[in-house]
Structure formats: structure tokens, C-alpha cells
């Protein structure tokens, strides 16, 4: 009897699910944005603000402007826990949703990006990996479907070395200085290493690579090593819990915070708050403003939180990674807007959105109009350059908020671009891709 019940229950469920699937009817004039998020697991402290930023900006477009030129923005979240196997599942699940399929993917994980890059050209869905993922994807001749504006890990590393040289008093003063790269021991963390090695050779500083294994809750041995080395500067590529642990450990060994610079994934509020006063003076790179004083935040608080600033704060509005989600969502929706100018104001396919990304030209005027005045720099993607090598700035945590602590630093194009092109060429050769002609 027990078994019969079980069988009946299973059958009933299956039939029920079938009905629900059939009931889903495609609607017209919607632009679907898939969201690979991680609101649980070891990387949740970083994942939640990003996901909220995306969600709020998409919702804002619908509420404030009635969508993108009248086309409603739809989106769906899928939890990846930053794991590559769940990333595949989410990608397959979401890529066909909406009337014309997914517009583009923002994986928010270098590992998942690597996995999706080969699929993008097959499924004809572009990837917008904003400031992460495969660096050499900046070469648009080889990586037609991948975009990584405004700057890559390699550009960022060169900008950080530029910053260190200014602190030291000139490039010639870098010689003999000891610099540690404390990095997440994964595709993401290792990405900056080759560039740093080239720069070390060029400027004569001593580079030590210190890896931290996933997820990074335990870093005692790494910091013992750092204490022995006594580095002049530490550059960190961390993510998730690794960041807060590193900042706490740095405080424990009384390492001067103003010589400790995180990359733009290691400089959000969730990273510094747990370390308390010890984190005061911590530096990190960024390519957009922090805080909730920009025009777009006023709109978000008004339209989404009904003017309730406290509720907005609880939803991470204004945190560094929240703002990054908003900026990323803006790039994505502006790409769609660009594509609409060519293909018409209707649901666009991934292929059409790709055209929009490649011809994306965000001017200061557009930024002012959208409420991003002073928050991000203008940007123009070309067929050849999917990165744009936008300027990078150093921000400083004063215990309560982030503020800019340097002028805008332009990455060293003369060093980074040849490396990018060499790596892209190697990839093209390995995968039998003929680079397209951009002229």
C-alpha cells in the first residue's frame, strides 16, 4: 500500500508539473536578463549586494521609465553558490527564457565565465564579464562574444603598480621593493600573476605570490609568511570571506593598512566592516563611486523602497558591490538600448544584443541623464577592444565610508595589450579560431 501511494503521488506530481510547463505562454516585447547569483554559501557576503544591485536597477527601469524604450525588462535569479557545476545548470536553465532567449550573461565568477566562453559563440548569447573573467577576452577579434569592460585584471594590476610607484616616488624607486600578491588560489586569483611578473622584471621589484586556498577562512600560514617577508606593499585578489579574514589578519600583525591594496573585488563594505577599527585606512581599487549619493540611488530609494532610506540600507544600497551591480545592469541595459536603435524597440536576441555591446558608447551625457554623474567614467567599446582599458582609482576606507584616495590611473596599455593579444592568439590557435578582421 505504501508503495502504491508513493507511485500515485509521483505520477500526480509529474502530471502537475507538465500542466504548469504548458501554461507558460510567451509574452511579447520583453527583454529577458538571466541572473546567476550567489546569495548563499561562502561567497554570499560578496554575492548578495551584487545581486541586489542588478535586481533594483532592472526594477527601477520598469518603474521609472516603463522598461527600455517601452520594452519591459524581465529577469530571473538562479543560485550558483559560486560553484561551476551549479553555474552550468543555471546557464542551461535560463538561456532559453523570455520571448527571444537570454540577452546576455553576467556570470560573476571567473570560473563560470571560463566555462561559458566557448558556449557563448555556439548559443549566440554574449557574456558581459565586467572587470573579471578571462583577461585576453579583451581582444575582440578572437573573443567575438565576450566583453570585459571597463578594465581587466591585467590592466588593473598595471594601474596598481603605477600607484605603488607614485607612493614610492617614481618608477625607479620601485627597484628592490618587496611586493606580495595575496591571491585566491583559483582561475580568478591567479589571473593577475603573469602581468605582475612582467612588471616585476621591468621595474625590478621583488614579487612574492602567496596563494590562499578556497574559501580562505584560514590564512594563518600565509600571514606568517608575509610577516617574514615584511613587504613594502601587498596587493590582494580575494573574494568572499577571504577578504575579511585577510584584513583582520593584517590588523593582527599590525601591517600598515595604507600599504595594503585590494583589487576591486576585495574592497566592499562587507570586507572591511567585520575587521572593525583595524580596517581603517585599507585601500582598494575601483572603477566607480561608492555610497548612495548619486542620482540613480535617489531614484532607487524613491521608486523601489518608497523613500525608506533605512530599508534601502538594509538591502545594501550604496555599498561598493551593490553599486557595481547597478553599474553592470546599466551597461547591460544600455547595450540593449544601443541595439534597439538598429533593430527596433522589441525583444532582441542574444545576437542583436552582442551588436549593441560591440557598439556600446556611453557618453558623459548618457551618464548624466541616467543618474550616474560622477559615478562611472564614459566608455566606448570597439570591435577590436572589448575592454576599453578604462581608468582605475584607489579608494580608502575610513571606518565608515569609502572615499577616493588617488587620482584616476590609466592602465599601462603598452605593456598589457601585447600580453592580451599574445594570449588571445594562443587561444585562437588552440581552438582553431580564425580571428576576424575589425577594419
Amino acid at each position: 500500500m505504501k508503495f502504491r501511494k508513493l507511485v500515485l503521488a509521483t505520477a500526480a506530481t509529474v502530471v502537475g508539473l507538465g500542466t504548469f510547463a504548458a501554461a507558460e505562454i510567451a509574452k511579447a516585447d520583453e527583454q529577458f536578463f538571466p541572473m546567476l547569483v550567489y546569495r548563499t554559501g561562502a561567497y554570499a557576503p560578496s554575492g548578495i549586494p551584487v545581486a541586489n544591485g542588478f535586481r533594483d536597477y532592472y526594477t527601477l527601469l520598469n518603474k521609472r521609465d516603463g522598461g527600455i524604450n517601452g520594452v519591459t525588462v524581465t529577469f530571473e535569479e538562479c543560485e550558483t553558490q559560486y560553484k561551476t557545476n551549479l553555474g552550468v545548470e543555471c546557464y542551461e536553465k535560463l538561456k532559453g527564457n523570455g520571448p527571444t532567449g537570454a540577452s546576455l550573461f553576467n556570470p560573476y565568477s571567473t570560473g563560470i565565465t571560463y566555462q561559458l566562453i566557448p558556449k557563448a559563440s555556439v548559443d549566440k548569447i554574449p557574456i558581459l564579464s565586467m572587470g573579471y573573467g578571462r583577461t585576453s577576452a579583451a581582444d575582440g577579434r578572437v573573443f567575438e562574444w565576450v566583453f570585459n569592460p571597463p578594465a581587466t585584471y591585467w590592466s588593473q594590476a598595471s594601474a596598481v603598480i603605477k600607484y605603488f610607484s607614485r607612493r614610492a616616488g617614481g618608477y625607479d624607486k620601485l627597484a628592490g621593493k618587496k611586493i606580495v600578491h595575496l591571491h585566491h588560489n583559483s582561475a580568478y586569483g591567479k589571473e593577475a600573476n603573469p602581468t605582475l611578473e612582467v612588471l616585476a622584471k621591468r621595474y625590478g621589484f621583488k614579487l612574492t605570490l602567496v596563494p590562499v586556498d578556497h574559501p580562505g577562512q584560514e590564512q594563518a600560514s600565509q600571514w606568517r609568511q608575509i610577516r617574514r617577508i615584511k613587504p613594502d606593499f601587498i596587493f590582494m585578489s580575494g573574494w568572499g570571506v577571504m577578504n575579511q579574514v585577510a584584513i583582520k589578519e593584517a590588523g593582527n600583525i599590525r601591517y600598515p593598512m595604507d600599504q595594503f591594496v585590494g583589487n576591486w573585488w576585495s574592497g566592499s563594505d562587507a570586507d572591511v566592516v567585520p575587521a572593525g577599527d583595524g580596517a581603517k585606512g585599507y585601500l582598494s581599487t575601483t572603477f566607480h563611486g561608492a555610497g548612495s549619493d548619486f542620482g540613480v540611488h535617489a531614484d532607487i530609494i524613491k521608486h523601489i523602497y518608497g523613500g525608506d532610506a533605512a530599508a534601502a540600507k538594509e538591502n545594501k544600497v550604496g555599498e561598493v558591490l551593490y553599486n557595481r551591480g547597478v553599474v553592470n545592469a546599466m551597461f547591460a541595459t544600455e547595450a540593449v538600448r544601443t541595439a534597439q536603435a538598429k533593430f527596433g524597440n522589441k525583444s532582441l536576441t542574444g545576437e542583436q544584443v552582442r551588436w549593441g555591446l560591440e557598439n556600446l558608447n556611453i557618453t558623459q551625457e548618457t551618464l548624466d541623464k541616467l543618474g550616474f554623474k560622477g559615478m562611472v567614467s564614459p566608455l566606448k567599446i570597439t570591435c577590436e577592444d572589448h575592454e576599453t582599458m578604462g581608468p582605475v582609482i584607489i579608494q580608502k576606507w575610513d571606518g565608515a565610508k569609502w572615499s577616493y584616495a588617488s587620482e584616476w590611473l590609466t592602465p599601462m596599455r603598452d605593456i598589457v595589450r601585447p600580453l592580451v593579444e599574445a594570449d588571445a592568439a594562443a587561444y585562437a590557435k588552440e581552438n582553431n579560431i580564425t580571428p576576424r578582421n575589425c577594419n
Binding site: 510547463a21 547569483v37 546569495r39 535569479e77 553558490q81 561551476t84 557545476n85 589571473e191 596563494p211
Partner: protein, 358 residues
Amino acid sequence: MFYREAGQFKTTYQDDQAVFPVLQDKAAVFLLILVAYAVPFVADEYWLQAIFIQFLVFALMAIGLNILMGYAGQVSLGTGAFAAVGAYACYKLTTNIEGMNIIVAILLSGGCAAAVGVVFGLPSLRIKGFYLAVATLAAQFFILWLFNKVGWFYNNNPSGTITAPPRELFGVLITGPSASPEARYIVCLTFLIVFAWFAKNLVRGRIGRNWMAIRDMDIAAEIIGIRPLQTKLLAFAISSFYCGVAGALMIFCWLGSAETEAFDLVNVSFRVLFMIIIGGLGSIGGSIMGAAFIILVPIFLTNFPPMVGLDISTALQKHLEEIIFGVMIVFFLIVEPEGFARLWQILREKLRKWPFPY
């Protein structure tokens, strides 16, 4: 009634020793295989690519671990490491040797995994039970560290990720991004069927009986003339071979590209261990059922609330999935500690006597 064996006479030894001596079983298995091969005609890409292929890969790995743990009684937490050896070996073989057949490469990488498995199986002669589990844990940590640390294993690319290159079999692409999910599915399914059939025969024969003797009481086994070292190492070798092949398939047919994190302790080793505990230790069919449970149920639980129109946040959905799945595991283990294999056995007995049980 459904399972009446009356009238099925065995007139040859061959018939009597068949893998499935009962006609109904044979028919059911053939039907199942037919259905499995027909799946690509009905399932969409999401089901194939994200669920079924994953299931086939993990089922193969579960059979591998079950050989070692369920039949030979050697506890191992190194499954992920052996799978990683297979995956990286296959990557090195296909990228460095021009024109190598992909199937040959996968089998050879299984061989590499077997060799590594034997090395890490050596302590099993002296260490038993949980202590052996800890010793195999060393394999897990050491091998993943090695693959992350030494650039040679991933051809020194800057990110340390290995990516499956496109390879053909009989003129059809079966790996790489352009390979159709149907082709990958068929390849994985064929591997699983052949390897499951091989394992089933292995455990019924002399080798399997040796393993079981060692498992049940190693001193007694030694006294009746079974050599513990060879028997245990053979179990490690064959088990790692299975895991290695599954690991190669994992990268080449399922994920497409991965770093060592894809083979970590929780995601692979523990997961496969749970599969065989839930499915049934010492049962090939149980390994497959366990893999199905561990892979399909969480996906079902995640997709269920939105399907019935419940609008709950993604995080809550994930947490609910974990809670309900945990409760289900506890429930099943209380109801039937010996796993799905035993449950199926009970059901089968009941069906034989139905409708007049005694």
C-alpha cells in the same frame, strides 16, 4: 503475479549463470536501456546537459567507489582526487598528442587514475576503517594542491583552468562547446552501461568474492588463501579506474572546462559517498539509484516552488532545498538503512508473492 518465475527452466549452465537469470528482470533492464537511449529524442537541452549527463557521470563514479567501499570494504574519501587525475590526464593526453582517439584517451586516463589509486591504496594493508578514510583524505588534498600548483598539468595557461578541446568520434563531435548534448549523452550512457555491466560481472566472479571475503573478515580471508595486498590494491586500482574515467567524462562531456575546485572534497568525494550510502553499499544498481537521488532531488526541490507559482527569494529557495533534502536523507536512512538497493529487493519479493503474501 508480475514476477512469477514459474515455468522459466534453465537448461544450460550459461543460462543459470546469466547476470539477470529471471526473464522479467532481463526484460526490464533491456527496456530501461532502450528508454535511456531514447531520452535524447524527447528531452530538451537543459535536461540533457545539466541533469542527465551529470547523473551519468556521477553514477559511474558511484559504481567506482562502491567497488572499493561496498565490495572490498575499504573506506575512501579520495574519489574527487582520482576523478581529477582522470580529468587532467585526459586533458594532457588530448592536447599534447596529436590525433589521439578520444575514447582511447579517456580509457588511458582511467589507467593513470588507477596507478595513482594503487599508490594511495598502499596504506590500506596496515590501516583500516576510519583511519584509512583519513589516509585517503591525504590523496584528496595532495593531488588537488599539486594540480593547482604545478603549471605543467594545465599547460601553463594563466588561469589554471583545463578546457576540453573539440574531438570527434566516428565523424561526430562529442567534446568541446560545439558538440551536441545528444552526442555527449550517448557517449556517457554507453560508458555507464558497459562499465556497469563489467562491474556486475566482476563482483560476481572470483575477484568480487575475494573482495567480499576481505571486507567481511580479512583475517579469515587471509587464512583461506586470499592475498590481502593484491586483493586490496586491485580494488583500489579498479575503483580509481572508474573514478578516473568518470572524471575525464566530467570535464569532456559535462562541464567543458574546470579548475581543481570542481573536484573538491564536498562537491565530489562526499557527494559520491552519500550516493552509495543512500543507494546501498555493495550494489551496482544501488549506486545508480543513489546517484539519481542525490542529483535529481535537489534540482527538483529548487525548481519546484517557482513551478507551482510560489514566489520566494532565491536564497530562501536554496536554504529550503538544503533543509528538505537533509530531512529526506535522514528519513530514508531511518526507514531503510541499507539503501535503495535493499528497498528494491523488498519490493521485488513482495511483487513475487502478490497478491497472496505469506
